[in-house]
């Protein structure tokens, strides 16, 4: 920095002498020249200072982004192209896309994970999307008590996901008087031994969906309510004056106008469903059997249970590509401009 500034000053000074002599001969006012040169020097110094400040302002961001995001991203990309196992510093071979081929075509765990992931994403999407859309439309009709109701619906968002797992594990628990079995008993439908939802391969995945939806609904509710608030009252009143029934008003006016927001909601729900790790890790460990093995959990267990870093990187790259694909498809193919703006 010092060197740069000194150099800047030197070059400015040179300019002044050459230029100054020339000017003195013509106009004879050295005073103006000195002033102009000083102005020039100051401007150069200020420009330099601005550059330096910009760099300093961006420094923390660049540090964290480069060291903890860009570098890991690239190195796990490299890992995914090798046959690295536990120790990534021991000699290994670059196998290119062969690893991806083996994972996609031959790995039966990966196939199970893909299947679970699809079922999970679809049912999670329907549950979350319909719950939050219906709630948003209903809440938008209300005028009193809206705030406290909203707080209640937003509350699950802040509950840590592993805690959510614990809460639902308890509600659907087979031990103690878990609420689900309690109700079944009171209705005379109780079974013995008690139903253990998360211990049953048929229900476990849907149990996870319910728990995750409980947390996610608030997020999409925020998006939808923001969209509904943006629809002007005049438009809806005009529809009512024209004699539209509530249903017509909803499907012909409100939902089409809400479309960009619905799109954002869909993308967020789908991206979110791909990142399912906490719940299987806390509640079911990917089991029983492989019933709740999600892509994310598979990638994690390859790295930290089987110590297959290369394979894990392949699975996580495939997951990331799927996520980018989903958001790209929804953002580009349906409604390009409005979806971006929001």
């Amino acid at each position: 920095m010092m060197f740069l500034s000194r150099e800047g000053r030197v070059s400015v000074a040179k300019g002044r002498t050459a230029h100054g002599r020339f000017c003195q001969e013509r106009t004879g006012s050295a005073m103006d020249e000195a002033l102009a040169a000083q102005k020039h020097r100051m401007r150069a110094r200020r420009r330099f200072r601005e550059r330096r400040n910009l760099f300093l302002f961006l420094l923390p961001t660049l540090f964290f982004v480069v060291v903890f995001l860009a570098f890991p991203l690239l190195s796990s990309g490299y890992l995914s192209l090798t046959d690295v196992r536990a120790n990534i510093f021991e000699p290994h071979k670059l196998i290119g896309l062969k690893g991806y081929y083996q994972t996609i075509v031959k790995d039966s765990f990966f196939h199970t994970a893909m299947r679970n992931q699809t079922i999970y994403a679809v049912s999670y999407f329907f549950l979350t999307f319909s719950c939050s859309l219906i709630l948003a439309i209903l809440i938008n009709e209300l005028r009193k008590g809206v705030e406290i109701l909203q707080v209640i619906f937003y509350l699950p968002m802040i509950i840590p996901l592993s805690i959510v797992g614990g809460i639902f594990l308890w509600i659907f628990s087979g031990t103690g008087n878990g609420f689900y079995n309690l109700v079944l008993n009171h209705l005379g439908l109780g079974q013995s031994p008690p139903v253990n939802v998360y211990g049953d391969p048929r229900y476990a995945l849907f149990g996870l969906v319910i728990a995750r939806s409980w947390k996610m609904t608030g997020f999409t509710l925020i998006i939808f309510l923001a969209g509904l608030k943006g629809i002007s009252k005049e438009v809806r009143e005009a529809a009512q004056i024209d004699g539209a029934s509530f249903r017509q008003e909803l499907f012909r006016v409100v939902l089409p106008m809400l479309r960009p927001y619905l799109l954002i909601g869909v993308v967020w729900i789908l991206i979110n469903s791909m990142k399912e790790f906490d719940l299987p890790a806390v509640m079911t460990f990917g089991g029983p059997g492989t019933a709740t093995l999600t892509l994310y959990y598979r990638a994690w267990s390859l790295a930290f249970e089987y110590w297959e870093m290369g394979k894990s990187a392949q699975v996580s790259y495939i997951t990331a590509l799927l996520i980018l694909l989903v958001s790209w498809v929804f953002n580009r193919i349906f409604k390009p401009e409005t979806a971006q703006r929001g």
Partner: protein
Amino acid sequence: MKGSDQAAPPAVKNRTSRRTVVIFIIVVVAAGVFLFPLLWMLLTSLRPRADIYKAVPTIIPEAFNFDNYRYILTQEKFPRFFLNSVVITSSTVLIVLFSSLMGGYALGMRRFRGQNMLFFLVTLVLAIPYIMYLVPIFVMEMYLDLRNTWLGLILPYVALNLPWGLLIMRGAFSTIPLDLKDSATIDGCSEFRFVFAICTPILKPALAAATIITFVFVWEEFLFASSINVRNYTLPVYFKFLLVETQGQEWGKVGAVVVVTILPVLILFLVFRNFFIKGLSEGMLKG
């Protein structure tokens, strides 16, 4: 359609007000369903152990006591892990605030080459699954001997939460008029003083939003915490091992841990909820 519409004929008015009541009831019931899991856990944590494992169980507990809370708060592990969570979360929040204030200023009020590209790359991070960063960071920390330390979690957390912070702060800085900066510069105010002394008070709402969003995300983070820290747990990881340890035989204690874990973030949420919602919707709609 609204009940206050004076011009509407009585029949319509009557119909709409009845509909409002029906909608209100539906929403309240739904709210009850949403609130129920939390209330049920709270109720469980207050029950004596015998009440939970009775042969003929009841929905409303017969007696309340605080044994479970006394147990977990006096035991050695829980307070230590609570402290871990508090230290890691609050230092992450501070660093994120500082970095996003600086970076948000550069991205929102300055013009430079590659600005949009940089911002795009930063927001891309939001879409990429965190697990892609995990393995290299894990290896890096293994060699730097950062595992099981506070710093070992704080650094990656800052990186993961910075994009949200930048998104919020950039938006906030772009609302500040450039004239303000010009007049501050003419008065001889350096850029750093401009950001930290003049802008920071104006940007309080955005800072509050960034604070609570980062807090919530870090408080619940599980993937990194469970993989990198194998001894020095944070609360979510401790909770997982508690579940494994108790094998469904100590739901009262689990409930007490749940309540105490939620409490700090719940209080923050209730105080700053408007900032939280505004920040989140800004981020989600733009991201």
